[in-house]
Symmetry: D2
Subunit: 274 residues, 4 copies
């Protein structure tokens, strides 16, 4: 038995499926088809967020994303609209019928985030913020747990174990690239970790090729690779005008690029491989 117990494949041989209620019908993550989460890095304004949400809502996206609390390396960078951003996300859900996910940074903001959103995201920098993990573990909301920048697969599963052990069994893992010496990409997507986690654990795994590469041109090939490696879904940054994004513009797709990628993914799902 590995050090993580509840997350282990030995604990549960069937794949965990996580259900997200939505006005358009329940969304299930972990059923074998690819769940697509898309949206801009940050909620920059009500107008811009609702606009992008409307643009992409019929392009194959299942869940909308957008940051209200942004973890920024510098205290002088735009750090999100906070509660106002949460309200905009809730409004976008109202208009599109799609569930919304956003990141929480502080255990004291968790109630607010849960009130407005459908899925809670724990970001890479907080993968070992154990008090935050325990707090989301006490909730019953689905949680996306991103892999830490320099976390081993075992540490990632143990971080996940904090949430499971606190009582919340709705954890979705997300590979978003690890830090290496390579300078031409923001991070290095560890594609084999996707298959390894599917082997070691029963939980669903997503891939975020936007943060994973930091280069727009690499998002589609890495997204396709993720599906081919067995990922249960994707998180993709899309912006109506990437050049003017307040954060992560270089890695955001345009709506047209996203539509084309979503079609490729649909084709890949029809493949029957072992």
């Amino acid at each position: 038995m590995p050090a993580y117990k509840l997350a282990a494949r030995q604990e549960q041989s069937s794949n965990t499926q996580i259900k997200i209620p939505s006005r358009n019908g329940e969304i299930s993550i972990g059923t074998g088809s690819c769940t697509i989460i898309a949206g801009p890095c940050s909620v920059e304004s009500r107008k811009k967020y609702l606009e992008i949400a409307m643009l992409i809502k019929d392009m194959g996206v299942h869940i909308l994303r957008g940051g209200a609390y942004k973890p920024r390396t510098s205290p002088y960078s735009f750090a999100g609209l906070e509660e106002e951003g949460l309200k905009i996300l809730a409004e976008a859900r109202e208009i599109t019928g799609l569930p919304v996910v956003t990141e929480v940074l502080d255990p004291r903001d968790l109630d607010k985030v849960m009130y407005y959103c459908d899925i809670i995201q724990i970001g890479s920098r907080n993968m070992q913020n154990f008090s935050l993990l325990k707090e989301v573990g006490r909730s019953r909301k689905p949680v996306i747990l991103k892999r830490g920048l320099a976390a081993t697969v075992e540490e990632w599963l143990l971080a996940c174990e904090y949430i499971l052990n606190a009582g919340n069994d709705k954890v979705i893992l997300c590979e978003r690239g690890i830090r290496t010496f390579e300078k031409m990409m923001r991070n290095t997507v560890d594609i084999a970790a996707v298959a390894l986690v599917k082997e070691l654990s029963h939980l669903p795994v997503l891939v975020d090729p936007s943060h994973g590469t930091g280069r727009r041109s690499l998002v589609a090939p890495v997204a396709r690779a993720a599906i081919a490696a067995g990922a249960d879904g994707l998180m993709i940054e899309v912006h109506q005008n990437p050049e003017q994004a307040l954060s992560d513009g270089e890695q955001s797709l345009t709506p047209a690029m996203f539509a084309s990628l979503a079609q490729d993914i649909r084709k890949m799902e029809q493949l029957q491989v072992s």
Copy 2:
């Protein structure tokens, strides 16, 4: 001007000195002599903590350390005595006259930690826990900010900038090893980063050779190297019985080894190098 501003050498050409009041007289970090912080990884029990504190108090230690809230990779590991641990630290201070430092993991525990302890430590895993950084930034207690496992020097200084920018100018940096591919040591101490930070910033820098190497036999040579590279102090794990420590036993010195190291450091301080 670099992205960090208040931390930058350009902002202040003289070295910042951080003063810690103590019954035995004020301790100053950053004055050119080596401040030694020592103690066990965790406060394991009242009896054991007071015993080790008494054993080392006259061996050249300036500040006592001990974890009350422990960030553990697995939720099933010993995670510290929490508030009870804080009280034991305060009692050790009472008995020895030495100030105490302990790590805080959750912004909601900060008031308690500040009530009982003299210095707050932000650990490696929380270096980019921005809500915790802002919270300690609003206090006036000295803060030791450990470098993240995979943080660049610039990111470390920007994390420090969060604290400074929130109003607390008493930040002490601590290099504790970064994560690399090397398997025979727990981490890789980045000794050049000590000299680089002294060049880029006016803030004091410590080195933690215990976490930095994870091997008892390497603690003394790396501690000496740290002083030779310009570090303002050291954090050293000492345990009366390392084999039975509840955490980090392999990297803890015995009191006798610590006494010998403290003597070496005193000799090194007398060297006049450029």
Copy 3:
């Protein structure tokens, strides 16, 4: 213009196709379909090599691999059969009609390797063995240049430039995993580098998921991911009895596993994605 010139996409907008003559007709690498190179890590004996060659020759393999000169971390490990191994490779080619590739470690062995084999491999450890690069650059044989364990994509393309600049334009790149902190896999396959190299250069790119992961169970998913990311081919270790292999047993597929993977790859080729 980047620092590499002849390798750059700016130098040649169309994809380079590398042709390998063979008794069964010419093999072209870089035409859009997936070239499969397979065989055991080492040529262990004439009997075993011919046996595995016959077992897999009709399973979709285009080129046979097998090490005659093995770069081994320890001087006490099995280092290959040397010239005898080359002769066995040539005999396997005779019997199967498939071209053969093998690694060269020393410029003084190059003539022999070129005499017996169809493709020369420069291994990861020799990616910056510049005298070897210049020497194969003076030949006219196709060369597979594996990425160094800790080489950036730019360094890899510059190593390739040594070969091109010496006059040999038949270079095939091969991503085989980089070294990171992860302990559960031998290396970390940098899947985005495949797409990045296709963007920056006109040369074909293979992926080696066997060395890339070091775990048999991960070879197939990573192979599929490589194709989805745009790789021009795969190098796969196959052994009739992986448990008894003299090297790399844990990452070798059985012939049955290989046959199943080859079928998946054929299905993936029929996908029309952007």
Copy 4:
């Protein structure tokens, strides 16, 4: 017994001392005092090399360095004067009485290098060039074996074992920084590896703070740290006019900076630490 045998401390408990004959008397590496190897990165011209050699010869340097065959990332960079460079090194030895060390890249150049020079250097990129290791192992010249960019300490000792096992017992190890994610320094000097190698092996260990940091301002503090950690010597790049150096200018000391560092090192040697 570890995988390396002849290099292991278990094989020989006393420290190996390597003797280099010289006109001014024998130089011993590994005796407890610090051997200083200094000179420019490359031999750029006869005039410039003899000039710098004369400038530094009385500043405490024991051995002169200078590259005649330069391993350059790009085929379009200056790659050394080759045999002409070797002759200049021999002339500098004649004039100064100091032994000279230079790097060899190709086994076919080894005889020439041995003819002109006193110590052979195997560079970082060739640490696992096994045919080169075996070839220098068949010679009887002292060899400096630099650690590979991404080599573990065990792999480094096993590379060393290739030389020892081929019959040459005069191996000097040299830590020159490993590759990490840090961007403000060229490499990360692994100072604890110095102490670890002294514990695991009986062979002498040098540190190269010039390549190790890539920043002139960090060379002196890291050099001092190396001595404090137990290194047997240093390799330092010195150039009469670093701004105009054909390679590695940013990390080269001026003669005045070097003189000051050499004095600091003499002071540190007088310290008696455990």
